[in-house]
Amino acid sequence: MESSGQTNTQSAPARVIEVQHLVKRFAGAEHAIIDDLSFAVPADSCLSLLGPSGCGKTTLLRLLMGLEEPSSGVIHVAPAQAKHMSYVFQEPRLVPWRTCLENVLLPLELIHQNNQASQAYALDLLQQLGLDERLQHFPGELSGGMQMRVALARALVTEPKIVLLDEPFAALDERTRFRMQDLLLELKSRLQLQYVFVTHSIAEAVYLGDQILLMDSTGRARDWRGVDFSERNQALKLAPAFNSIVQTYSQLFSEMERNSTASGSGESRP
């Protein structure tokens, strides 16, 4: 099972993100939050980062974005993509005194690209996300799902090649979450994006990822494999193939939980 990742990516043409022996240890912490993690994301592939709460998924994503510095190890992002990354936080994180439209234009202002063409693109994005009637609303006047869509538009307005998403739909109700998942898949094919999606929901990880990296609570990669579905829509979640993969991960999850309780707290790993 540990070798499945290798076979998966050997034939891949180009690696867009490559992580080798990554370690992140926060100052004063006893254990590393990410411990010797290696994986790669090939071109045109989307990665789901799956794992229990507190296993370092968010930290890994922040390392990929450059919001944190690795303690050791290497993160390599292909130069063509490295300059075109964007990030969606766990919460919408909108600027409260800016309207919906102004929030989406903020990145363009900051990178000095707030011109007519990019404004038109911003409006187009907002329309695609069903926010064209909310342009002048403030974040405080929008529902949680709408706020998240504004955050998504803000992340996409700079025309990124890679989007890093940190459990963006976790706080939404189920129906909205499903709609957002489909929206993300749609945007991915339309805008030719790649994304890294952090989640603790197995079904979400399987639904959205071409590859799934499972991390355990010690910050190591537990499993890494590709999943291949010819078509992704909500009906897929009822398909036996989908459910057998979800089942496999559920078993891995409970195995991990058993291991961590059996070896007790503060265990030393081999």
Binding site: M65, V95, W97, P107, F138
Partner: protein, 257 residues
């Protein structure tokens, strides 16, 4: 607007009733001569005096209002500017801020004589006095507002590698606006005190009207001076509220963060 004023009057009716009871009781106490009227004049007497001497009182109020506006206006401008300077250049803040805090603890009444020596009798000293007491809360509040920007928003901005200027103008100043408004409101009350204290010593305005009335044993006139100075303070807070609402109309989220 009138609807809201009406709602406010209705909402605050216990206070209005209490005020009426208080004034009637006061009037009664004086009418019964339980207290000598040269110590405590009745409300009607104070009102009559105010009407009688209105030209004088009005001129004094206007002069005090002028000093307050001058002092508060300049302390708002220079307080915010200084705070920005302190924020942008930390070494200046570390060098100068301790002395600002120390200076702030010196009672205005103790430096007022010094102001008279420097600026002479009259309005310049009064203005300086209003300015000195009102600058610190604005400075301190603005600095706090600039420093306590939401770290999450700061991180969001950091994704796009902003310049320091972009951070200041697009993030830190907008975040500080509610703090600046609070600072100005606190300072408004202080500026009134500063002006009256300045006038006690340097002359002019309501301060010297009150002081002169005291020496003449005109307690009724003292009272109308006192009433006018609190009316000034209330009016000032009201004006600040209205101006900030007008300036930030369409941006309600800058007033309440």
């Amino acid at each position: 607007m009138t609807k809201r004023i009406k709602a406010w009057l209705v909402e605050k009716y216990p206070a209005w009733i209490f005020l009426a009871v208080l004034l009637l009781g006061w009037e009664y106490v004086v009418a019964q001569e339980w207290v000598a009227s040269y110590l405590l004049p009745s409300p009607t007497q104070i009102f009559q005096t105010t009407v009688e001497l209105w030209p004088e009182i009005y001129a004094a109020t206007l002069s005090t209002a002028n000093s307050i506006a001058w002092g508060l206006g300049w302390s708002a401008v220079s307080g915010v500017t200084l705070a920005l300077l302190f924020f942008a250049i930390p070494i200046v803040r570390r060098a100068v801020l301790p002395f600002c805090i120390f200076f702030q603890t010196v009672p205005i009444i103790s430096i007022a004589p010094l102001l008279v020596i420097w600026f002479g009798f009259g309005q310049p000293t009064v203005r300086a006095s209003a300015f000195i007491v009102s600058i610190f809360p604005i400075l301190a509040n603005t600095l706090t507002g600039l420093q306590e920007t939401d770290p999450h928003l700061k991180e969001l901005f950091r994704l796009y590698r902003p310049s320091p200027w972009q951070l200041i103008f697009k993030l830190q100043i907008p975040s500080a606006i509610p703090y600046i408004l609070t600072g100005i409101k606190i300072s408004a009350g202080l500026a009134v005190i500063g002006a009256i204290v300045g006038e006690f010593i340097a002359g002019g305005g309501l301060g010297s009207l009150i002081d002169a009335a005291r020496t003449q044993q005109r307690v009724d006139l003292v009272f109308s001076g006192v009433v006018m100075s609190s009316v000034l303070a209330l009016l000032l807070v009201f004006i600040i509220e209205v101006v900030s609402r007008v300036l930030l109309r369409g941006r309600p989220y800058l007033r309440k963060l």
